[in-house]
């Protein structure tokens, strides 16, 4: 009973959202907001493994997202669609429905392998130096993609919509929405199991005292490798989903700005709090989307009040002032984030009746 409440609730929620999308009760815009929420939940909770639970300061999460996005997209375009560069479909497009999750996982594995790029330096390096290495790794990945002309280089890569159409031809349900929800729930699920096992708590031991961890028989190098690979692998899956939601990807959308978004989400939610990560990803997505409406509205108001010169328009670029500003305010006034390192059940003990969060 206690164990089943939350899974039942999640299943019901997924069912309702998918049904309403299918029946077009909720429009494509809201659907896309829900999907970005899912992608952001995967990003923030997976980033939390390294930055929150293990206490490292990595800042190149978007790089691994890029690896997953490109590998999954290229694989899908190559296998299921006729493309100018990759030629005719290698497999029948009907198989796309079944193989789509597999290609996502392949993208995740590729991103996990890219994660080794920062895991190995992390054996000897910590703190600021590791932060620099992760930024460098992010740039290495982005520049590699920009310089590969066969996959579009700086122009970006497209064709993923055709994969979605192929899936839609087999059975007309909102496939991408379903997979986003399944992978989001799955991600949170396995992260929770990982950090609540004695095996996974090894990374929390590394954060609290690495020397003690090593002396008390925790293989710190292996745990770091596992944490970085799990974190970047899940980011890769988020990237694959992101690519198929948009139908178009560009290497520059996985740059340092995207990594900063991930950082903001983790610090907003609280380091080492899984429910905090989920909550902050939802809040952050809603905040970004609301700016779409708030900024034009503020533009009108400020012009009306003659506070802005006539020639100047308050554009969406201001988003990039507001997000870093949130980070500054957060670090000043609530450095531990919304949840600190507590889970929902620590704040509302009544919830324990329904589910054990740890």
């Amino acid at each position: 009973m206690q164990k089943l409440t939350v899974p039942t609730l999640l299943l019901a929620m997924t069912g309702v959202v998918v049904f309403m999308s299918h029946q077009e009760y909720i429009d494509l815009y809201i659907q896309s907001v829900i999907m970005f929420m899912g992608v952001n939940i995967i990003l923030s909770s997976s980033f939390n493994i390294v930055n929150g639970y293990m206490g490292e300061f990595a800042c190149g999460h978007a790089g691994f997202m890029a690896v997953g996005a490109y590998v999954t997209s290229i694989l899908n375009v190559m296998l299921f669609t006729d493309d100018k560069v990759f030629g005719n479909a290698l497999l029948s497009p009907e198989l796309a429905v079944f193989l789509f999750p597999v290609t996502l996982l392949v993208g995740g594995v590729a991103a996990a392998l890219a994660g080794v790029l920062v895991a190995i330096p992390s054996f000897k390096t910590r703190d600021d130096y590791l932060a620099i290495i992760t930024i460098a790794a992010n740039y290495i990945i982005i520049s590699t993609i920009i310089n590969m002309d066969s996959i579009g280089g700086a122009r970006g890569f497209m064709g993923m919509k055709k994969v979605l159409f192929a899936m839609d031809d087999s059975l007309s349900v909102p496939w991408i929405l379903i997979w986003v929800m399944v992978f989001t729930i799955g991600t949170v699920f396995i992260i929770r199991r990982f950090v609540s096992s004695t095996y996974g708590k090894g990374i929390i031991a590394i954060k609290q005292d690495e020397v003690a961890a090593e002396i008390m028989s925790v293989n710190t190098n292996r745990m770091k490798l596992v944490a970085f690979m799990l974190s970047s692998g899940l980011a890769g899956i988020a990237g694959g989903l992101f690519a198929h939601i948009l139908g178009y990807i560009n290497p520059n959308s996985f740059g340092i700005l995207k990594s900063t978004e991930c950082l903001v989400m983790v610090y907003l939610g609280g380091m080492g709090s899984l429910s905090g990560s989920v909550l902050s990803a939802i809040i952050f997505t809603l905040l970004l989307e609301s700016l779409r409406f708030v900024l034009p509205w503020m533009d009108t108001v400020l012009h009306y009040a003659h506070l802005l010169p006539d020639g100047y328009e308050l554009s969406q670029v201001w988003k990039w002032v507001i997000i870093p500003l949130i980070l500054i305010l957060l670090m000043q006034f609530r450095p531990e984030g919304i949840m600190g390192n507590r889970e929902l059940s620590d704040i509302f003990p009544g919830l324990k009746r329904f589910y054990s969060f740890k």
């Binding site: 004695t198 095996y199 003690a212």
Partner: protein, 255 residues
């Protein structure tokens, strides 16, 4: 065969010879001490035995196995546990979790089992919890199992750290200044505890300690080093009368 055999172990940091030609042989159930003035190289010796530093020269053989090139976690898995001068517990986890995580050398399941919560995972997690309670019970710490170490008084934290070290079933326990920072009542408890552990677990205990009453009342053999060089060894009575030791601690009388 002896438990631990250290032969002519030396360590140099750049031009500094921190430890030179250190040799010792432990049979299995001794209670010995390594003493010396501050900066004599005592902790460096411990760091080499536990695998943090690799000796520049000389060899370390534990249970017939050469320790050269082993990582600290591998050395621990062989059966050498240690505590630290400044207590190094995981302060934001419970006392029980501190013990459980120290069983990483013997988890009995892998990452996939943790994701799937397989039978093997369930069985072994239960074993780890039982092991945790067992060791805490033995050291009278069961009441604090779900407390965080940072909320415990210093003396108890020291006890928890010793419990954590014992939880890996060591054959050799290294205690780095166990009495540091304790008040006199706590020191008395500590002496009792170490004596009890030595009798109960039948293991070798090797400590670094500055408080002479602790060393003199516990140890049967004492080794003294100064500037990395062994200047004396013997029973407590011999050490107390040794002129070299007195000189190292108090200085030479004719300057």
């Amino acid at each position: 065969m002896s438990l631990l055999q250290i032969t002519n172990m030396s360590k140099t940091f750049g031009g500094l010879r921190a430890v030179s030609d250190f040799s010792i042989s432990l049979e299995g159930q001794e209670l010995i001490a390594l003493i010396g003035p501050n900066g004599a190289g005592k902790t460096t010796v411990f760091n080499m035995v536990s695998g943090f530093y690799s000796p520049t020269e000389g060899s370390l053989v534990f249970k017939g196995k050469n320790l050269a090139g082993l990582k600290p976690h591998q050395v621990t898995a062989l059966g050498i546990a240690r505590t630290f001068q400044n207590i190094r517990l995981w302060h934001d986890m419970t006392v029980l979790e501190n013990i459980q995580i120290s069983q990483h050398y013997n988890l009995g399941y892998n990452l996939l089992d943790a994701f799937l919560r397989s039978g093997r995972y369930m069985k072994n997690e239960k074993r780890l919890t039982d092991r945790g309670y067992e060791i805490l019970e033995a050291l009278d710490l069961k009441a604090f199992a779900l407390e965080k170490p940072k909320n415990l008084p210093y003396g108890l934290q020291r006890r928890v750290e010793i419990a954590r070290a014992l939880s890996i079933n060591p054959s050799l326990l290294l205690l780095d200044e166990p009495a540091a920072g304790l008040n006199s009542a706590d020191v008395k408890d500590l002496i009792k505890l170490i004596k009890w552990i030595h009798g109960e677990f039948k293991i070798a205990i090797w400590m670094i300690e500055h408080q002479m009453d602790v060393v003199m009342s516990l140890c049967s053999w004492i080794k003294v080093i100064d500037f990395g060089v062994t200047i004396a060894e013997g029973t407590p009575e011999q050490i107390q009368k040794n002129p070299d030791v007195i000189k190292a601690y108090l200085g030479d009388e004719n300057i």
